[in-house]
């Protein structure tokens, strides 16, 4: 559950998450988010999310102009995991929220430091 009055959600990320969960409680478990600790290129940061048993997964960020990034909906042939490249305007947190098959929600977040670089 998002603590009331939490200040870090300056771009409305808590409201955006609440819109995805319908305000339901989110557990910090059962969800894996793989991000680079330092991103060479903030224009294309690879993010991998894995949530066994999930029906839907949504990705958010707390430092971009808009909090929503992408929402995945998985059919039976596709295990609930995906990789996507996203934009990060600056160093910030990436947050993944999953809706499980039983209707509960899981959540995790990871910080990414954004620099520029990648040269010989």
């Amino acid at each position: 559950m998002v603590p009331a009055g939490e200040a870090w959600a300056s771009n409305g990320v808590s409201q955006a998450i609440a819109a995805f969960t319908g305000g339901a409680r989110t557990l910090e478990a059962g969800l894996r988010l793989e991000v680079p600790e330092i991103a060479d290129n903030g224009g294309a940061v690879p993010i991998r999310v894995v949530a066994e048993g999930a029906r839907r997964i949504a990705l958010f960020t707390d430092g971009n102009p808009y909090p929503r990034v992408a929402a995945f909906s998985f059919g039976p042939l596709v295990p609930p995991a995906a990789t996507i490249r996203i934009r990060l305007a600056k160093s910030q947190n990436v947050i993944a929220v999953a809706e499980m098959a039983d209707g509960t929600f899981r959540r995790t977040s990871r910080a990414v430091a954004v620099t520029v670089g990648g040269c010989a």
Partner: protein
């Protein structure tokens, strides 16, 4: 030295000098009065193979700083040197072809360097001689090899050197660069330019991507519906963030890069039908620039000083070959550690090598090795970026100690100043090699 007399007779005058040495020394005596006229007899001899950023700089610094005490011969097949650095700017229309060409005349005239225009085709490490394609041989006390790169055969399926006129590499500057530029200009409206990029390690890490920028710059003006396809076996490349930002800003929608995630590492070219097959998918192209995998210039392998990867491992402190202390290897051909293969790096390594060679042969002072590199790349008109680093010698390798890189989102003024700075650098390094 123990040369076969028959071999040497066509090269040596009666005092042990070759005819060309006699000529060069005569020129030197008339123009470079500051160089003391040390008798050639008994002077230690240095042979430098390869007249690029490594070899020309090393020859010049050894000859200049020893003030005639070391006999320096530079072996280079071409009479005019066209620099790989800035050859992309010629493709982009920012430089005249003639402006990247340099002659070796001043090295002979100003420093008494004996410039031999021939191919070095063998090295006898026991006798300490270098064989030349023209039939002669040169003896040395120290040999400096700076032969640049050669291509690994079979690294791109369907391509070998016999196809280089249909699908140029343009990765050794000269007529190949002119050919590629002509092919880009001859592309049909809306045609496809394809680059097959090389795997690591290779000469000039940002080079292929600066070239893409220059090709896009030309096509945007003359053929704006044309497309650029990069087939790349590498997941990442040098200055990637800066290039991709620049491509988005200047050439949006024109450039597509196919990395290994989409089969960029599984490529076959068909020069006859101008097709590029990417992971089984056939693409018709109109111009195709194949930059194959690379290794040290052949003479390094012929000298027997290269490793399984095809590069010549060196001792960082002196640039001496790990296989033979009488041989130094510079620039692209060397495997030294953290420095990128670049003209700037080769020039920097050449100065360390020159000092070490001079110290060994003339008992002059030797200071601790230090290296540096900066690579400028041009993305579009007045939009230059750069990356640079400092390095030191450790017992294992040349190790990076510090560095900087241009930032995305820099102002137009900063980018323009960076480009102008690169012009100043080109002028200075040209002088540092050839004046």
């Amino acid at each position: 030295m123990n040369q076969g007399e028959g071999v040497m007779s066509q090269w040596k005058g009666n005092n042990g000098l070759s005819r060309r040495q006699v000529l060069a020394t005569a020129v030197a005596a008339s123009t470079a009065l500051s160089a003391p006229a040390v008798l050639a007899q008994g002077r230690p001899r240095v042979v430098v193979v390869g007249g690029g950023a490594g070899g020309a700089t090393a020859a010049r610094y050894i000859a200049r700083d020893s003030r005639g005490a070391v006999d320096v011969t530079l072996v280079e097949p071409t009479r005019a040197y066209y620099s790989c650095f800035f050859s992309n700017l010629y493709i982009g229309g920012f430089r005249e072809y003639a402006s990247i060409g340099h002659s070796y005349g001043a090295l002979a005239a100003n420093h008494g360097i004996n410039v031999v225009h021939d191919w070095a085709v063998s090295v006898d490490r026991d006798k300490r001689t270098v064989g030349l394609a023209g039939g002669g041989s040169l003896s040395y006390d120290r040999l400096v090899l700076s032969p640049g790169i050669d291509f690994k055969e079979g690294s791109v399926a369907g391509w070998d050197l016999s196809q280089q006129n249909r699908m140029p590499h343009a990765y050794k500057a000269g007529s190949q660069t002119q050919l590629l530029k002509a092919q880009i200009e001859a592309m049909p409206e809306g045609g496809v330019y394809c680059m097959v990029a090389p795997p690591n390690p290779f000469r000039c890490p940002p080079g292929p991507y600066e070239r893409i920028s220059m090709v896009a710059h030309v096509l945007k003006q003359t053929n704006p519906t044309a497309k650029i396809l990069i087939v790349d076996p590498k997941p990442k490349f040098s200055k990637q963030g800066l290039f991709e930002e620049g491509w988005q800003r200047h050439y949006a929608g024109m450039i597509e890069r196919i990395g290994p995630d989409f089969g960029g590492d599984k490529v076959e070219v068909r020069p006859a039908s101008m097709e590029v097959v990417i992971d089984g998918e056939v693409n018709k192209v109109d111009a195709c620039n194949v930059i194959p995998a690379q290794q040290a210039g052949r003479i390094a392998a012929l000298a027997g000083i290269t490793n399984d990867a095809g590069w010549a491992p060196v001792v960082a402190h002196t640039m001496q070959s790990r296989a033979d202390g009488n041989i130094h290897v510079l620039g692209d051909a060397s495997q030294q550690g953290d420095m990128p293969k670049s003209g700037f790096s080769a020039n920097s390594q050449a100065k360390v090598c020159a000092m070490a060679v001079r110290g060994a042969l003339t008992d002059s002072k030797v200071y601790p090795a230090r290296f540096s590199n900066t690579c400028w790349s041009l993305i579009a008109t007045d939009d230059g970026v750069k990356v640079g680093a400092s390095y030191e010698a450790t017992d294992e390798k040349i190790a990076k100690t510090d560095g900087f890189i241009s930032q995305t989102g820099e102002s137009a003024e900063v980018r323009k100043a960076t480009y102008e700075e690169s012009l100043g650098w080109y002028s200075a390094i040209s002088d540092d090699m050839f004046s």
